[in-house]
Each structure stands twice: as C-alpha cells, then as structure tokens.
Symmetry: C2
Subunit: 338 residues, 2 copies
Amino acid sequence: MLSERRLQVLRAIVQDYVGTEEPVGSKALTERHNLGVSPATVRNDMAALEDEGFIAQPHTSAGRIPTDKGYRLFVDKLAGVKPMSPPERRAIQNFLEGAVDLDDVVARTVRLLAQLTRQVAVVQYPSLTRSTVRHVELLSLAPARLMLVLITDTGRVEQRMVDCPAPFGESSLADLRARLNSRVAGRRFADVPSLVEDLPEAFEAEDRGTVSTVLSTLLETLVEENEERLMIGGTANLTRFGHDFPLVIRPVLEALEEQVVLLKLLGEAKDPGVTVRIGHENAHEGLNSTSVVSVGYGSGGEAVAKLGVVGPTRMDYPGTMGAVRAVARYVGQILAES
Amino acid sequence: MLSERRLQVLRAIVQDYVGTEEPVGSKALTERHNLGVSPATVRNDMAALEDEGFIAQPHTSAGRIPTDKGYRLFVDKLAGVKPMSPPERRAIQNFLEGAVDLDDVVARTVRLLAQLTRQVAVVQYPSLTRSTVRHVELLSLAPARLMLVLITDTGRVEQRMVDCPAPFGESSLADLRARLNSRVAGRRFADVPSLVEDLPEAFEAEDRGTVSTVLSTLLETLVEENEERLMIGGTANLTRFGHDFPLVIRPVLEALEEQVVLLKLLGEAKDPGVTVRIGHENAHEGLNSTSVVSVGYGSGGEAVAKLGVVGPTRMDYPGTMGAVRAVARYVGQILAES
DNA sequence: GTCTGGCACTCGCGTACGAAGAGTGCCAGG
DNA sequence: CCTGGCACTCTTCGTACGCGAGTGCCAGAC
C-alpha cells in the first residue's frame, strides 16, 4: 500500500508532466509543489512508485513519466472531474442551440468537443435500436421501386431503396404505410421485429412478397454494425501529440478511419458515467499510446449513443472528463427539445 | 522558348523526384534516362531551367527539385493522363456496385480514391441545385410540426423540421403534398423557387402562413453553402508527406476540416476535365504545399458534384489524374443506375 | 554554335569528441 | 524516517572534420 505522500508525489508527477510534456525530476517537484520534504525523500518515493510500476524513466538519468498504470491510479483515486465554468457552459449551450437538424447537432458537437479539449472528437449518431420510432414512410418511386424512410424521435432519418418482386399498387402502399405506422410509431426500434412479423398475413397473396421485402429491408437497417454512424473531427489536434510524430500519429489516423474500430471502442465503455480507457487498455493496437474519454448521452434517462475524445495518454484528464460530460449533458437536452 | 531536350530534362527531373523524393542531380539523370548527352550538357540545361523558374535547388550544391511552375509545365505539356488498367477498372466497378445507398456510394468512393492514389480523398455529395427532384414528402409529426423530406434523382435525401405558425390539417397537408409534387417532381432543383412561388395563393387564408413557411424552408435548403456536403478520407496518407512533418501537415488537416475551404477549392475548378491546382495556385494558404486534383462527376452529361484528392505537390500526376478520372466515371454510372 | 571532359569549389551530412547539465542511487548522519 | 552530500550515468549540444554529391565554369573538340 502506498502512503499518502507517495500518492501526492504521483499526482504531482502527472500534473507536471501533463503541463510540461517533459520527464519530471525530484528537484523540480519539490520546487513546484510544496510537499514539505526534500528532493532526496521524493527520490525514495519515486523509486518506490517505479517499483510498483506507476512511473518509469525514459532513460537512466532522466526524470520520471507516468505509466498507463500511473494514469489509471490518478484518474481513479487522485483526481476528480473538473466542472466547466458557468461562461463555458453558456457558450456550449448557445453553440449547440443554433443547430437546424440532427446532422447539424452532431457536426456542432464534434467541433465543440474538439475545440474545448483540443483533441480529436468522436460523436456517435443516436443508435436506432435504442431510439423510438417517430414515423415510417413509404414512397413509390417507380412501379416496382419503393423508398423506405425511417424517422426516429431523435431526429435521425434513414432511407433505403426497396426493389419489389412485383408491382405494388398505390392503395396497397397506403394500406401498408398505415398498418406499419399504427404498429410501430412510438415504439422502440428494438421491438420492431416482433411487432411486424405477422404483417404479411394481412395482405393479399400477390402483395405478400413485396410486404416481406419491405419488412426485411426495414429489419436490415436495424442490424448492429449497419445502423451505427459517427462523425469525427479535430484531427488537426493530433499534431500536438509529441515529437516522435509520424510513428505515433499514423496508426491513430488509420484507426480513426475504421469506423468499426471506433464503434467497438465506444461500445466497450459500459459505465453510466464518464469512462476513461488509458493506453494499453484499448484493445486496438494503434491506439496504445492514446487515451479515450467517453460517455453516453441521451434525451432521457437512457443513453442513445456515445461521444468522446481521443488524445495522448498525457492529457488533462480532469478537464477533458469535465468537458466531455458537460457536452454530453447539453446534447441530451437539445435532442430532448427537438 | 525551351528546346525539346530541355523539356525532356524537366520531365525526367519531375519523374525522378516524384519517385525518389530526393533532389536529383545531373549525373543521376543521365544514368537513369538515356538523354544521349553528358552530365555537363544536362547541367547547362538545368541552369537554364532554373533561370526560367521551373526548377530550384534547396541548397547550393544539392540536386534540383521542380517548382510549382515546373510541375505546371509538366502537367500541361509533358505528361498525359495515365489510364487505369483493365483489372483496376474492374475492381473499381465491383467495389462501387456493392453500395446500398447514396451515403454508402460516397463512403466507398472516398475509400477507393484514397486507396488508389494513396492520398487524401474528398468527395462532394451531389449538389441539390444541380439535381432534379424525385419527390417531396411532408409528414405531420405534431399538430403544428412538420417534417419536410427532399429526395433527388441521385438518391440524396435531405430533411428539415418545420414549425408551423398555425395547426395544419391532414387534408391540407395531403393537398399541399400533392400540389408540390405535381409542380416540382422531375424538375431541376434550381427551378424550384420559380415553380412554387405562387403556391400559397391556392390555399385558404388560414393555411397560407404554414404553406409559406414550408416553402421558405424548402428554399433555404437550396441556398448554396447550406446545401453542399462532403466526405473526406485517407488522412492517414498525410503521414507519407515528407520529413518536415508537423509544420506541413497541421495546416492541411485544418484546411480539410473547414468544409467551406474545401468546397471553394473544388468549386474553383471549372474545367470540364480533370483539373489540377498546384501548390501556390491554391488560394488557401495552408494548402500551398499541396496539389489538388479534381473532376466533376454526374449521372448524365452534366456534373452534379466534384471529387478529387489532395496530396503533396510531389505526386504522381498522370497516375493520380487517371485514378480520379476513372473513379468519377464509374461513380457517375452507379448514380445513373440507382 | 553546341557538346564534352576536367577541375576547383561549395555545402550538407554523418561521425567523433568533449563539456555541461540534469537526474539518479546510495549512504551516513541527524 | 528524513536529509544532505557525493559519485555516477546519460542525454544533449556545440564544434570540428572528412566525405561525397553536385555545381559552375572553361577550354577544347566536333
């Protein structure tokens, strides 16, 4: 077990290193934080912290830098979440309220997060399966060609083309549209499959093929993987990463382009509050030198999607967590209003 | 005026420099290209080319590298467009044909371009104003709340919320929907404003406010700037930029995040064929060390949007131009089919 | 007039060496 | 258990130097 002072030393190391980006030595520590002990004592503590794996030295005679394990302890025990100041809160709210539609909300959120945290921002669109159905629309584009449009209570709109096996009359179309909506409107998307499975039976034999096709298209859009979308921004902030540039930044950019990777990353965070994944805690190898701070957001109690930032493990955790949490809260409000 | 051989020397310099990324000297030139003359002669030619501003030396006593002006001459006079090989063409076609909707087409196009050219790809969604209307849908979400959905022949779907000044009955809604579609379906979006301006007059006084609101929302979505969207990808390719990394890459990433900048960039290219903007020819300062290769694409004769790549001025112009042109052609085909 | 070989010159790059500085580990004493 | 002192390690930085690539120019050949 680590003594109280050793924890203070760790905290001081993390704070200094995050600020200066340079390994921090015992002398600098005693000067900048009044720990009430001499450098020699701090050195002993540092040796102990190093034995436990919380800090490391890049070279034999340089200062110490925190390890992933050190950051983990810092985040869990030594630091809180730094709340946003009132002016910042107001700025967030004002900026988000200007949005005209969901795309705009998401785009603005990305910009905002990137700017506040000076890191790469990732915002997931509200999940279909965790939203409720506002409306399902069917349009006839050609005799045997329909367009299916899904609209969620969060303002998300998805459309799919449907090629019908047989021509589908205007009256059958109206019938299907009405039946579909009466069954699913206001219900959760997750429940849709069971709500519509017997629908073809209500139709004439000649139309059943088309109805089934429409329904299977509808269900396809709800399959995991397909239904998730996200937006990223602030990649220019990657340039503030460090000195050993290309080697680190390359895999990060590649990972960011793989939506699957990012979705898995966000999906792993089950915590209801802000989740922090540090360095090697991220399964994806390219992100081993980054930390991911994420949180769910939603219009009501339940989270409909996640948002977060990706940055160097050497980041201002309290500040970042505060920004992410605040933005999520306001996005939730905006969605609830729309 | 430059002699034929001097042009050959310039061509050789560009080709070698693009290949090796290193300044090329007179000796290496004569060894790798059989120009039929000695290094000394080439040196004289190089001195002349330098006087004219087509090449430059980074330091006294290093080889020469092409200037923007040199690349310009190369692109205009010395090199053609390298066509894609049949297998490549087939791969492009296969990859694009798997798309399920417009978002997917655009996303696949971005990936494809980025992979083929190993550069940053930019694809603009089909412009609304240059497309034709397939359908306009109006949905009632709440007594005084409508959703307006626009669908183009290229598969693009835009939606907007409309807050009505007064409740709008279901029959009025159906009426408006029918009148709207009969006027604009199949027409070009650019013509929509003049086609609908007298529409409110056909309605009862109590509904006119709502009809006007709907129409003005419709027109707002068509305003330049608002109606343009684009997708970028392959930013990881920026890491192959050069050695003086962060300084160059930073402004490029920043420019890429500014959609306005990119749209202007693509918009400036008026040429019906492939357009190349080299280095300082790009108005935006951050892109002064990049070249932009772009081309319009569309389902029919006219271009509905642009696509292209952004890369270092030191790029394989013939190959890049070939890839961009080929991808644009196939995207056009796909859009025409859908 | 144009091309060529020769030659002296310039510079950037890599290596080597040494001094400076920062930081450490350890130890003996309070 | 803390502290001051001290020897040690390593990185960093500046300087010097030799090497090699490439150039510009010139006199001579075709």
